[in-house]
Symmetry: C2
Amino acid sequence: MSAAPQAPTTSRTAADSTRGRWRPAGLNQARITGGFWAPRQQRNGERAIPSGQDQLESAGNLQNLRLAAGIGEGEAIGPVFADSDVYKWLEAVAWEYARHPSDDLLKRQRELTAVVAAAQRDDGYLDSVVQLRYGDEGRYQQLVWSHEHYCAGHLIQAAVAQVRCTGDRGLLDVATKLADHLVASFGEVEDGKIRDVDGHPVIEMALVELYRETGTEAYLDLARWFVEARGHGIIKEHGHEPAYFSDRLPVREQTTVEGHSVRAVYLAAGAADVALETGDTDLLDALKNQFAHMWSTKTYVTGGLGARWEGEAFGDEYELPPDRAYAETCAAIGGIQWAWRMLLATGDAFYADAIERMLYNGFLAGVSLSGAEYFYVNALQLRGSAQPDNGRSPARGRRGWFECACCPPNIMRTFASLDGYLASSSATEIQLHQYAEGEVAAELDNGTVELKVDTEYPWQGAVRVTIQQTTDQPWTLELRIPAWAEGATVDGERVKEGEYARIERTWSAGDTVELQLPLDPRVVGADPRVDAVRDSVAVERGPLVYAVEQIDNTASVDDLHLVPSATISATHRPDLLDGVTVLTARGRAGAGHRDGWPFAPDSTDATGDEVEVTAIPYYAWANREIGAMRVWLPRG
Amino acid sequence: MSAAPQAPTTSRTAADSTRGRWRPAGLNQARITGGFWAPRQQRNGERAIPSGQDQLESAGNLQNLRLAAGIGEGEAIGPVFADSDVYKWLEAVAWEYARHPSDDLLKRQRELTAVVAAAQRDDGYLDSVVQLRYGDEGRYQQLVWSHEHYCAGHLIQAAVAQVRCTGDRGLLDVATKLADHLVASFGEVEDGKIRDVDGHPVIEMALVELYRETGTEAYLDLARWFVEARGHGIIKEHGHEPAYFSDRLPVREQTTVEGHSVRAVYLAAGAADVALETGDTDLLDALKNQFAHMWSTKTYVTGGLGARWEGEAFGDEYELPPDRAYAETCAAIGGIQWAWRMLLATGDAFYADAIERMLYNGFLAGVSLSGAEYFYVNALQLRGSAQPDNGRSPARGRRGWFECACCPPNIMRTFASLDGYLASSSATEIQLHQYAEGEVAAELDNGTVELKVDTEYPWQGAVRVTIQQTTDQPWTLELRIPAWAEGATVDGERVKEGEYARIERTWSAGDTVELQLPLDPRVVGADPRVDAVRDSVAVERGPLVYAVEQIDNTASVDDLHLVPSATISATHRPDLLDGVTVLTARGRAGAGHRDGWPFAPDSTDATGDEVEVTAIPYYAWANREIGAMRVWLPRG
């Protein structure tokens, strides 16, 4: 029997830049060990990742790669981006290995890596669907739709995760060969290269990450070229509307996000990587403005991104319908990735707050409590009478897989690498961004520091940090105080919300710091320009946005009202939905319904009998039945 | 020089059934001669129809038919349903000829009819795109998407219009040959036929109309078969979601409208035709319920149908977002066609009211004042910051044509045949449904009656009916009193709204009846379940829904509020927008804007300074500039 497999002791995480204000803790440094997230990560490793491989097999994604590798005969199956789902799954396997090394994961990874390597063409090109359907002649003929760079990007990200977390260099060899091929192929026409961009960004982030891993500057240069090439008419020259593809304006001239939401935030995250590594402050400033505009005018209260089904796109300013929210799970993931890069670059707690909101709500709602059923679309309202209209319809409930299966493996890689978003450090500071039961280590200038974090967050507001190991030099513990946490205290002293509380001292092992975040339920309204939720309120507690589901309420949720001024009580229910804090509020049943034509002479809204309103965390909806659900309730 | 061309003296109109409660006035019997509609019809004839032929030429639709006819060589261009736009245009030419006979129209019609006839295959099959792209082997291989029956349906409708209005039988010969081919090809498998339905209905209406014209019962039987075949799994067997195609439930079991809105209302209109001709009261009752449910839960205040861009579809109950309203112009036209058939079958004024609302608002907004620029999508709100995202985006303004050009020729045929919706008759009654300056004649059991209608409706509420010719027997004049017209009078006597006022007497030539409809501006609110317009109001006057446009207002329209209790004044402005009555109300500018994250602790909406609000008829928006527009304003 062989020795138990081990992850390398230096498992660097994603976006691990040495040039930001802060450097993220590696996956062997920050470790979630219990509390809210650990069982979710465990289900991801035990249920989602193995079932994901089965789904990739039955959907044909793996078969495509085998065919391209010359194993068997047949035609490519599924969408042009089929390879990317395999690579995201491989990335998840790598991060999961850092979290929980196992022979099984290594075996799965190595078998599949061998197939991918065999599928690669001699000159480095790799895209199984294009190879099978169009041959060498078909390369880069329709980059606006073909996702060839998109697939390459996900391959590169998986390869970097693999070498960082398992030490295996198999996929990295494929990735560098592919990246070298891209470097040789794309650029300015006068250099004899193809001047084109993929309709779906991700290659930008990936090439920067490969540069970080290998030090090869050509990868960074090409990433920068792809970022700068956007907004100069390339997509339009191909006869397509540029806005959908984030190609209407150059990235550094853009002031908002528009078009396909996943594409937009992936591009922005890649641009942030480029800005970070090249020290391009103008580009970084443009990205700050874009993020701020997105956050103030195009983001759901859940952190969900993308208001439109048509084009899976961002809407106009303040266009945020709760019922037809698209809020694709992948967009929340891309939003987290973008915010993470902005946080490392700027040290602004705003971005860590944004990550928290997206993580606990817009992202987490995308997966079932059981761990392997998913929402592609994350509505903030479902009417009781809703009819499913297609496979992505929330009215169908969460599903095991999708025809366009981008979200499930994206969720898997996010859960598996979640520890990497907890903490970062600089020369004499450690930052805790997200609060989870676990351990954090950092190499400060004067030596190694190790912390232990005990918390039942988000159910309880207490976070205790215990110093496990320290140097004898002073250093600073920085604790994020969320913007919603007015009244937070550190060791009993009020601290300001919306920034990091700094505790600088010479520490001794065994020292503790007690952070207390106030978790009183909060009733929030919307800027009046958010027309779709006029005169309505939502309820939050800590980082969680709440929702009312029909199964918990007697009155019809479709037109339940909430009395905003009434007391809201919180009760933790360990038995319910894997343990949630339930909120109970006072409300009123709907009234003033009109028979027939619904637009009658104006009268102010009537409300009906007083009722109790029960709300659960939004992320937990649709785990018992699929029925009426609302995040926003009219004022009652 | 030849004699001036003349329309046949018996130009029957569309849906001319002898089995309904009422029979529609023919196009030679009901004639709009002035007022609101006449100049619009004139622009349709003089600008839209000729430019439509140019557009069909440059888009390739006409070339496809020439190629199929063996004239020249090349490949089919454009969408699979390209032929249908040609047929709708030919139908418009035919109705227009009845309105205003001309050699030019005859020449255009005959030339094109000859091409269509030459394109038809010997066995009667006809679809130029399928013939060119897939050959005889490709027929009916993908009926769910191929629109072969859809094109056939529009051909048949054009042929019936042609023979009724010009006497030419050229297109009718093609149509009957094609219909005979369909009768021979489609039906039950045990009869050796193809059991399939077109993904896009219209063939049902068309075959019934052809039956009415020719008396051939096989056409009615096949129409009934197509109606009854729906909802029995055919679409699902082809691997598609049935709801989009109105195929989730049998028509007679359906209780609402769902899926693609144009498909849904075309099918319903065809089913109404079948119910009417076969005396199927169960089917008619099902259609009554469906219409009532659509009208009370899935119709915009403008009569617009279809809430969703995704799938161009009806949304769930009460899902009626004003900003992302799809409200396709074709859906309003289909809604009018369905309502017209229901009106003739039932004699219920409810349907004539519905026609009025769709006609003056949801339909009319689809065309510019100049007559040849169109909206495909009819939003009820456009924000000032809106970015166009594709060719159908209202933010682009009205356009001369579309890649999917269903709406423009549909508008043309509707304008040209509008006279046919004015009036109907039974043995001893004449009904006036829509009020327009014009003449109406009817053959009652005891002879011919002729009326003259004088009105400046919808600007003025007075309608004077003068008897021009009458029999010496008593008969009844029935005048629709719209449901909104509380306080209407006939010759000074109050009459009840929402039904027909009946004036029965023995008439003499020169007798007059004075109808007075009250045109005080009305402030309307929505059923509280219409979440998207909570706490908002719209303004109507007569049949017109109003909108505020930025160009008429100093405060930002994006968050302008209206004070519902304040007086609204009406001023007719002959100089503005071809003459409109403008409404002026009291409002408040927006306030309470939030910087940054827009979801902050709840507070009731603040409002800003008092401002004057100017509103114009919704149909007239986007004729001066494209800017912010709203039908619904928050209560101020």
